[in-house]
């Protein structure tokens, strides 16, 4: 029946669509010069992969793919690109010239391997993409049961590893650094800088706090009159 054939064909069409999208986004990611375009292409790759997982009847893995990779990790990448304002790459670095033959070689090995696998595995795999009998692989309950019973130790060890990475990152970031956010309580009042004549001076880039300290030093040395009580309250 034509209807049945269409149902057989649909997973193939979806696979070609999402697989093609994943490949296209991956190529775009490598080829782009602008780092933000690369990041957006990588998000496209992750979302196409999630759609492929859905066609393979693994909805939980698809959702986690989107939440963790597209939703969390890539947001941080985009965030860093925005914060650092990474410039567009103007010309290719010279070292890439030596990497091109290596890349071609590795790609050839990968293609050869895939061909070999397809040749060996032919006949063993079913002709259609969807398994004929329902399987619980990739469903939430089966993954949860597996993760918290059979694979509990690897799961816990992985979380310790991630915790170590987190602590390490924080230690590296905080080493010899002042707090990033200039919030009240974070900013210490600096002593006013002195000019050659010995009097305090202000420079561009001084904060309001140094300005206040400067004014206080002026009042203390008698250069300026102390403000009225109302102004002093405002200052605090």
């Amino acid at each position: 029946m034509a209807n049945n054939e269409l149902q057989q064909l649909l997973p193939v069409l979806l696979f070609i669509l999402f697989g093609g999208m994943a490949l296209g986004f991956a190529v775009a990611m490598v080829a782009q010069r602008n780092p933000l375009y690369s990041a957006v292409s990588l998000i496209g790759v992750f979302i196409s992969l999630a759609c492929l997982y859905l066609t393979l009847q693994a909805p939980f893995i698809a959702a986690i793919q989107v939440i963790v990779y597209a939703g969390a990790i890539m947001v941080l990448v985009v965030f860093v690109i925005m914060l650092l304002n990474v410039e567009e790459e103007v010309r290719r670095p010279v070292r890439l010239r030596y990497l091109v033959p290596v890349g071609v070689l590795l790609a050839a090995v990968l293609v050869g391997e895939a061909t070999f696998m397809l040749q060996v595995g032919r006949g063993a795999a079913p002709d259609h993409f969807l398994p004929s009998r329902p399987s619980d692989v990739g469903l939430t309950a089966s993954i949860g049961t597996g993760m918290y019973t059979k694979y509990l130790l690897p799961f816990e060890v992985t979380s310790v590893l991630i915790l170590m990475a987190l602590v390490g990152a924080i230690t590296l970031a905080r080493q010899g650094r002042a707090p990033l956010l200039a919030a009240p309580g974070n900013v210490t009042e600096e002593q006013p800088r002195l000019t050659a004549g010995g009097g305090p001076a202000l420079k561009p880039g001084d904060t309001a706090a140094t300005g206040r300290a400067f004014a206080r030093a002026q009042i203390a040395s008698g250069e300026a009159a102390a403000p009225s009580s109302g102004a002093r309250e405002e200052e605090g």
Partner: protein, 353 residues
């Protein structure tokens, strides 16, 4: 429906039914959004002792359409030094990510219609509905972040950075405050979660369910982080007018601005629906088991309560400072949400033993 399944088979009939449902759902949500905007302007007016828009149509009822026409006919301005492709992509991502989750919310019980038979009042029902909602919501951040970056304006960039930092931070406590409900229900399927809240005359909502664990803490943390997640007052730092002009959408005009505006209200609506479904029993309420169609009314009433709460808060509260916002999210809300997960899990462990 039977005629359709005879023609093209039951699977395809279901697919056609869902396609129609999705389109009807989108149109319904956009209409609701239009009238939420009007309701916001009128209610804010009454809170502030003025009338609000009441000229177009009876009581201002056609005001949303007038606004839409204005948006369509305004001049499209594109900043000359913007990153063109991403500049146009950002509003598309924002509105798509806002509209996609609406298909999974159950808005009524199993009902009967002549010619169709029994069916569930939910457009798409699947195993991982809650994770789907969280996943699509987390993709929505890109709309705002990319809009801020691609406009090539310092106000937009600061607004985009603030918005994405805020959304990443509050997404954690949002997700964690839902874990309590998931632990109680043992499923991620929203329809089953609502079904389990039946009983006690339709009032056995997860919020008060003392036979398991009442999710009061989870509800409060969810509500606060949902307001922050949708960038609404008092967490509307990304578009603080006094500091940032209009935040990430400063450089957007005409219909592109309207897309961001709509996305914000659709997000408001979806987080209200999620709160209703998870904590307030969705369509459950008195007399639903006698007369199933009443479920839709209860659902609409509960969602309207949350929408009204949003507007009420906007008329009442001042804005946070950015460092207060961050330390509140990370140092208070997140630990409380984690505490709720531990508490719920512990009590459930001893009750179920």
């Amino acid at each position: 429906m039977d005629w359709l399944s005879n023609q093209i088979g039951p699977d395809w009939a279901r697919a056609v039914g869902q396609l129609i449902g999705i389109n009807v759902g989108f149109i319904a949500v956009l209409m609701i959004v239009a009238y939420t905007v009007l309701a916001e302007r009128r209610v804010l007016g009454f809170i502030q002792g003025r009338l609000g828009p009441n000229r177009v149509g009876p009581g201002g009822l056609f005001q949303p359409f007038a606004d839409l026409l204005k948006f369509i006919f305004k001049e499209e301005i594109t900043p000359s030094s913007s990153t063109r492709f991403i500049y146009f992509l950002a509003p598309i991502i924002a509105i798509t990510a806002a509209l996609m989750p609406i298909i999974v919310y159950p808005f009524g019980p199993r009902v009967w219609l002549p010619g169709i038979g029994y069916f569930h009042l939910v457009i798409a029902r699947f195993d991982i509905a809650l994770l789907y909602v969280l996943g699509i919501t987390s993709v929505g951040v890109y709309g705002i972040a990319l809009a801020g970056w691609s406009s090539n304006s310092k106000y937009s960039l600061m607004g985009g950075l603030r918005a994405s930092a805020q959304m990443i931070s509050y997404e954690l406590s949002l997700g964690l405050s839902l874990v309590g409900v998931v632990l109680m229900s043992g499923t991620l399927d929203l329809y089953s979660i609502v079904e389990q809240q039946g009983g006690w005359g339709g009032m056995r909502w997860n919020l008060f369910d003392i036979s398991r664990v009442p999710q009061v803490i989870g509800f409060i943390t969810y509500l606060i982080s949902a307001i922050a997640e949708t960038n609404r007052v008092p967490f509307d730092l990304p578009e603080a007018e006094t500091e940032l002009v209009a935040g990430f959408h400063t450089e957007y005009s005409a219909l592109k601005f309207a897309l961001f505006f709509m996305a914000e209200y659709v997000n408001m609506f979806t987080v209200s629906m999620l709160a209703t479904v998870l904590f307030l029993g969705g369509w459950q309420g008195p007399f639903v088991d006698v007369f199933p169609w009443l479920g839709i009314l209860w659902f609409i009433l509960k969602v309207s309560f949350f929408l009204f709460l949003y507007i009420w808060l906007r008329g009442t509260l001042p804005r946070f400072r950015f460092d207060q916002l961050m330390s509140f999210g990370w140092k208070f809300l997140l630990p409380v949400a984690i505490f709720n997960v531990v508490l719920t899990a512990t009590i459930l462990f001893f009750r179920l033993r």
